[in-house]
Symmetry: C2
Subunit: 134 residues, 2 copies
């Protein structure tokens, strides 16, 4: 299970690098994948990535410097800023998602469609008892 999930993440990351994001580390990519289309607060990013807001701040700094995200004031809360992906980051995200879809297609080819459907359902069930945040 570890091997398979790691393989999936590695393929998504490699696709992102191939799409031009060669200066993004895996950790930065993992955080960037948590950003909503309209932007997300740093604390929310930190919670989703299971890390502290200090770490998230630092990673957002790096991503901002590299031109993948921008910080804009949150109109709903003067304390907060929204982290938003730039057009460049969007392109990278599309490429990564396409690679994940391709990989899942290969899995289905290897194990068969019924088994793949059952896997998806089993994982949904396991998440109920293994996800400490949901």
């Amino acid at each position: 299970m570890y091997v398979a999930s790691r393989s999936l993440e590695a393929r998504a990351y490699d696709a992102a690098v191939a799409a031009g994001a060669s200066d993004v580390t895996p950790t930065q990519a993992r955080l960037m994948a948590q950003i909503d289309p309209d932007g997300t607060r740093v604390v929310t990013l930190a919670a989703r990535a299971r890390t502290t807001k200090q770490s998230a701040t630092s990673l957002v700094d790096q991503l901002e410097r590299a031109g993948y995200v921008e910080r804009v004031p949150d109109p709903a809360d003067g304390r907060a800023k929204l982290v938003r992906m730039t057009a460049r980051a969007h392109e990278v995200g599309v490429a990564a998602n396409a690679e994940v879809a391709r990989a899942l297609g290969e899995w289905e080819e290897h194990v068969g469609a019924p088994r793949m459907r059952e896997l998806e359902e089993t994982m949904r069930m396991l998440r109920e008892i293994t996800d400490p945040w949901a």
Copy 2:
């Protein structure tokens, strides 16, 4: 999938800590889990943990200082040393394995025995196409 496999590793690690290994980091534990009963060379540990021998050397240093492993000369090769678990480390390993078995039992209770068998088989199949080392 990521969530479930992470949950399993976390439970094994927590059990190890509860069994008295409170001074072992998750990374050290991950390396220690790769040691064979008769001992294993540092380069082999590095390969299994997908890391460099420099990192493995450093982790073995820490584990040796904490009394979990010992280095003995390899009788078959004068250059090599075998990293072996001490009695203390063995106890911890037993506790961790017991916790993994307990967790898998809970999974089976939640999703049912047939689904659990199919999951195991599916994972074995996926490993064929996702494990870059096997």
